[in-house]
């Protein structure tokens, strides 16, 4: 089970149990018992100096006080022998209260050492225990004080004041506990980070009876954002949630960030710039902030403030810093968990999008389709208004190749847009790296003008670098000015790398296809030349020779029977050789294909086939020479294979044209089981079809006949890819 699922509910249950105790001692005992139960430990104890405050796991009256105090002082990760159980592994945590006390846990068995999660839970439990025991101490004191006050009537007044003060503190503590539990329950229920921050802001504000409560998050480069803000109902307060604000020197934010401690500021008079503007707009008055420390780093701040519209002299009461710090510290774990989960979810989403795009790249999807997919994925991932992919042209302009936007917005795929004005596209081109802009502006016909006209006010982009050359740029645009999230450029760059790979792959594939096509064309031409040579040269001469032999045969006297027989034999052989040559030349490049076209050529193949072959050939004119040759050789090779291997009784050949593509299928009713990996005939066909940008599919289940389907584009189009010289 994930740690969070297990951890938070356990801590909530522990908190409730320990908080139900009625005395300090009972709270201690409850704590050790519930910790032992939750962590399956044999022994749990709270040890303070040479005193055992609470313990469970030893027989009544047989607690080895000295051994336990020594063991606690030894620190974590050692062993303790428990009577009747044996050797246990020990874990310890220092308690804030009682001062110097140690929470000790001992567990037997092979998994005696606490796991990372369990150790985290123990630390959380120790913290809750300290708070509960401290509160119960106050309650115990109060009870004692009340008895004392009955006895000493003269001191009633003074004690009453003290009691009142303690009562107030008790109420506060109870409030803190309730607030903490509400937030912890949200974490346990796996609420998202924003909901938890909103709850923290509200609970902090209510707890300290302030007008405003807020959670701030420190960013890099001396900035902070406020992801959640709460105001007392009825207070108008349109604070810019999520906006990047500067951490001004001397401000409360600055003090908390630098010192890592809670701090206060009763006036915001010295604020300057944007903060001064916000102060004047909202009338911020007395303010207290406490750091949220996650993993040793000041992650953010919880702050509460009064509005200056209250009575002039009013400030947040003394001790507010400590109360807010106590509350915040306990929430740090919860916040870090929620934050980590949000980050994980975002990463998972991003990885999934990248994987989908990478799959498209790997399967050789057409560039246009891939570009569209990338803009769609990125827009959803970056929550952008418009995402687009632009190619830099040789004349210093840019063309929009793909874009994604809200269904209501149409992004025109304009070409040769100028790069004047302030735009990310221009900056990426001139500097060759990622860029962002918060204001867009430029003359009509320029890239920024196009996006500005779509209502976009901020942008970020990353270059597409193909084999060292700057090829284009991917842009993301947002409607709100200054709403580009930090790290956006890096996230875009991950996609640009995939796009660059795809472009580079497409170029390689185009080169490969062109090279194959050249080989096929060259081979076809060679065959045609040989066929012509055979037909016009050797064949002609052989026919002449045969005629001459017949002439000789006619003039030889009948008594030369031996000679006549020899001539007759030579004539027969000559006829055989001629037949053979005709056969060969037909196989090389049939004249009927060059002269009559695909239909007559295929019908002649069918007539000569040894297995009865039915042809269904659609109506169409002459096709390009490579397409006709490919189709002819496919049918020829397929019919040869059927005759040799298939044991079929009939073959169907269908040929037609649809959507500028030649569709050819050859089906037989034979034994199936044809394997393209064996037999170079089919491999040769695959090469030929591939070279023309076509597709060949073979289905041949054992016992189910063989079906060969070929699709050939009539105009073999190659992916348009150009290399641009390196820019800048």
């Amino acid at each position: 089970m994930p740690a969070l699922n297990w951890f938070a509910p356990q801590l909530v249950a522990f908190l409730e149990a320990v908080w139900s105790a009625r005395t300090e001692a009972a709270a201690g005992l409850m704590a050790v018992e519930r910790a032992a139960e939750a962590l399956d430990a044999e022994v749990a104890a709270i040890v303070c100096g040479d005193r055992v405050v609470a313990v469970v796991g030893y027989p009544e009256g047989a607690v080895p006080v000295r051994e336990l105090t020594l063991s606690a002082a030894d620190g974590p990760h050692h062993e303790l022998t428990v009577p009747g159980v044996g050797v246990c592994r020990v874990a310890t945590v220092l308690l804030d209260y009682p001062a110097g006390a140690i929470f000790l846990l001992a567990r037997a068995g092979p998994d005696g050492d606490l796991s990372h999660d369990e150790a985290g839970l123990l630390r959380g439990m120790a913290r809750v225990t300290s708070m509960a025991m401290r509160t119960q101490r106050l309650l115990d004191d109060e009870r004692a004080a009340r008895e004392e006050s009955d006895r000493q009537a003269t001191e009633n007044g003074r004690l009453l004041a003290e009691l009142t003060q303690r009562q107030v503190r008790l109420t506060e503590l109870a409030g803190e506990q309730a607030a903490l539990r509400r937030v912890a329950t949200l974490v346990a229920a796996q609420a998202d980070a924003d909901r938890i921050f909103a709850a923290v802001a509200e609970e902090a504000g209510r707890l300290l009876q302030a007008d405003v409560g807020a959670v701030s998050k420190f960013g890099p480069e001396g900035c902070f954002t406020v992801p959640a803000i709460w105001t007392e109902t009825g207070t108008e307060f349109a604070f810019p949630v999520g906006e990047q604000l500067p951490v001004d020197e001397g401000s409360l934010t600055d003090r908390v960030l630098r010192s890592g401690r809670a701090s206060r500021m009763d006036t915001y008079r010295s604020a300057v710039g944007r903060l001064a503007e916000l102060r004047d707009r909202f009338g911020l008055g007395s303010m207290v902030g406490a750091p949220i420390v996650v993993g040793g780093r000041v992650w953010g701040m919880v702050s509460v403030s009064l509005l200056s519209s209250r009575a002039k002299a009013e400030t947040l009461p003394a001790g507010s810093e400590q109360r807010l710090a106590d509350f915040t510290e306990l929430l740090a774990t919860a916040i870090s968990n929620a934050e980590a989960r949000g980050e994980l979810a975002r990463l998972a989403e991003e990885q999934a999008a990248l994987r989908r795009v990478a799959t498209l790249v790997a399967t050789g999807t057409a560039p246009e389709e891939l570009f569209n997919a990338v803009t769609v994925e990125m827009r959803s991932l970056l929550n952008a208004g418009v995402t687009s992919l632009l190619r830099y042209e040789a004349d210093g302009t840019a063309s929009v190749l793909a874009a994604s936007s809200d269904p209501g917005t149409e992004v025109p795929l304009l070409s040769h847009l100028t790069l004047e004005g302030t735009s990310v596209a221009a900056t990426v081109l001139s500097r060759g790296r990622t860029a962002r802009f918060d204001e867009l502006g430029g003359p009509p016909g320029s890239v920024p003008a196009v996006f500005h006209s779509l209502g976009m006010h901020s942008a970020a982009g990353a270059p597409i670098v193909v084999e060292g050359g700057l090829w284009g740029v991917i842009l993301a645009h947002w409607q709100d000015p200054q709403s580009v999230p930090s790290g956006t450029e890096g996230r875009i760059a991950q996609f640009t790398q995939l796009v660059a790979t795809a472009i580079s792959n497409a170029a390689s594939r185009a080169q490969l296809a062109a090279s194959r096509a050249r080989i096929v064309v060259t081979a076809d031409e060679t065959r045609r030349r040989i066929e012509r040579d055979l037909h016009d040269g050797i064949q002609q001469r052989l026919v002449t020779l045969a005629l001459q032999l017949r002439t000789v045969q006619g003039v030889v006297p009948p008594e030369h029977a031996g000679l006549l027989s020899a001539i007759s034999q030579a004539d027969d052989q000559l006829i055989d050789i001629l037949d053979e040559l005709r056969e060969i030349s037909r196989g090389l490049h049939p004249a009927i294909l060059s002269e009559g076209g695909l239909g007559p050529a295929l019908r002649s193949l069918a007539r000569r086939a040894s297995v009865p072959t039915a042809m269904d050939i659609g109506e169409f004119g002459r096709l390009s020479q490579p397409v006709e040759a490919a189709a002819y050789y496919v049918v020829s090779e397929a019919l040869t294979n059927v005759a040799k291997h298939a044991n079929a009784t009939v073959v169907h050949v269908d040929l037609g044209i649809k959507n500028s593509t030649l569709h050819l299928s050859i089906d037989d009713d034979g034994g199936g089981g044809a394997d393209p990996a064996r037999g170079s005939g089919i491999i040769g066909l695959v090469d030929r079809v591939d070279a023309l940008g076509g597709k060949l599919t073979l289905r041949s289940p054992p016992g189910g006949g063989t079906s060969l389907v070929i699709e050939l584009p009539l105009e073999p189009g190659l992916p348009p890819v150009r290399q641009r010289p390196r820019a800048g």
Binding site: M1, N5, W6, A8, P9, Q10, L11, V12, A13, E16, A17, E33, A36, E37, A38, L39, D40, A41, E42, V43, V56, G57, Y58, P59, E60, A62, V82, P83, G84, V85, R107, A108, G109, D111, E118, T185, A188, A189
Partner: protein
């Protein structure tokens, strides 16, 4: 000369004359009995029945309780009395009873547990607890007992039943018939004592978060009325369900609590409140816990029985068991059916070899060997005595 340690079981139908006496006669095979453990079905004249047993055993310490069915080598029974005797110089036994348990469950657990004698030369020890299965938070009883015994002494036992009437259960201590109490026997032995625990249930579907509960009551799951969520998971609704169909549904679909080790602890739902749409459980289902709906089938439950038996024998470290005591959840009867429980008990008898077997169908089972938690539901707990 009698053996150093012996274990025997006697049984009789409760409708017969002097049933207690007959069962005791069969169990008292030697003169030096140290402890009698009595399991019987609820009846009007329990004091008389115990009197019959004690007319044979005299002042030998006695504990026991009423059941939701009895177990012997011959199979499961209703309306019978099963008397187990442990005897010989190899055993030293002390007993205790804590009445008025529901006023202070923790204190009752502690008082009952203070009964274990520790004579020299008896290194193997266990405390056998029999509690009122209708008392609210049984976990508190275990906590009280643990505070007295510590980690070194195992606990075993069960929660008394009343034949599924769910009105009143009884516990026996000496010649007293008690209710709402905890009785215990601390057993020290010269031979090993082994404990086996298995349930055979498994979690189904997604976990639910307990968002509202008090001891013995689950008010809300995932922030919605607990009964609605529970029935929804079973594919029905409060309005569609006949109240008389509910017990069978509850019996076969308990809740599983998650533990750090990943293994679930099963919680039996006893009834439901159709007005407040909440559920009642035999033990606490803490707020903030993650729980699962559990299910089982005959084969997984039967396999668990054999596994519990084997584990208890394995814990004897090579010694042959003299006898076994079984604490078997009554809900298992509901799942296995009459034929299934016959099979289960015959499987146990086979695993026990020639050793005698006694036990009862309980409203909750106790077994604590590691860590602090000791209360189980829907579980078979076996104590093997060597």
């Amino acid at each position: 000369m009698p053996p150093d340690r012996w274990f025997a079981v006697g049984t009789a139908g409760m409708s017969a004359d002097d049933a207690g006496g007959r069962a005791a006669d069969a169990a008292l095979i030697h003169d030096d009995a140290k402890l009698l453990i009595v399991f019987c079905s609820p009846a009007e004249d329990l004091p008389e029945l115990i009197g019959q047993v004690r007319s044979r055993s005299g002042g030998v310490p006695l504990i026991g309780c009423t059941t939701a069915g009895e177990i012997t080598r011959d199979g499961p029974r209703d309306g019978s009395i099963v008397v187990t005797a442990l005897g010989g110089g190899g055993f030293a036994v002390g007993t205790a009873a804590a009445a008025g348990a529901s006023e202070d469950l923790r204190g009752a657990g502690a008082r009952a547990a203070r009964c274990l004698p520790s004579p020299a030369g008896h290194p193997y020890r266990v405390v056998l607890l029999l509690t009122d299965g209708l008392a609210s938070d049984q976990d508190e009883i275990i906590r009280g007992a643990y505070s007295v015994l510590g980690a070194g002494i195992p606990m075993v036992g069960g929660c008394a039943g009343d034949g599924l009437k769910m009105t009143r259960t009884f516990q026996f201590h000496g010649d007293r018939v008690l209710t709402d109490s905890v009785v215990a026997a601390g057993i020290s032995s010269t031979g090993p004592l082994g404990i086996g625990v298995q349930h055979g249930w498994r979690a189904v579907g997604e976990p639910m978060l307990v968002t509202g509960s008090s001891p013995n009551r689950v008010d809300s799951l995932d922030d919605r009325p607990a009964l609605d969520v529970y029935l929804e998971r079973l594919g029905t609704k409060p309005g569609q369900l006949h109240p008389e169909d509910l017990p069978a549904l509850l019996l076969t679909h308990p809740l599983g609590l998650s533990r750090h080790s990943g293994e679930e602890q099963v919680r039996f739902i006893t009834s439901a409140d159709f007005i407040r749409r909440s559920l009642f459980a035999t033990a606490q289902v803490p707020q903030g816990s993650l729980i699962w709906l559990m299910e089982a089938d005959t084969s997984s439950v039967l396999e668990a029985a054999t596994a519990a038996c084997d584990a208890s024998v394995a814990a004897l470290g090579g010694f042959i068991p003299l006898g076994m005591v079984a604490f078997d959840c009554v809900a298992r009867r509901g799942v296995l059916g009459q034929e299934g429980i016959e099979k289960e008990i015959h499987g146990l008898a086979d695993a026990a070899g020639r050793a005698p077997l006694a036990g009862f169908y309980s409203y909750g089972e106790i077994a604590r060997t590691h860590g602090m938690r000791g209360l189980h539901n829907y579980t078979l707990v076996i104590l093997s005595v060597a």
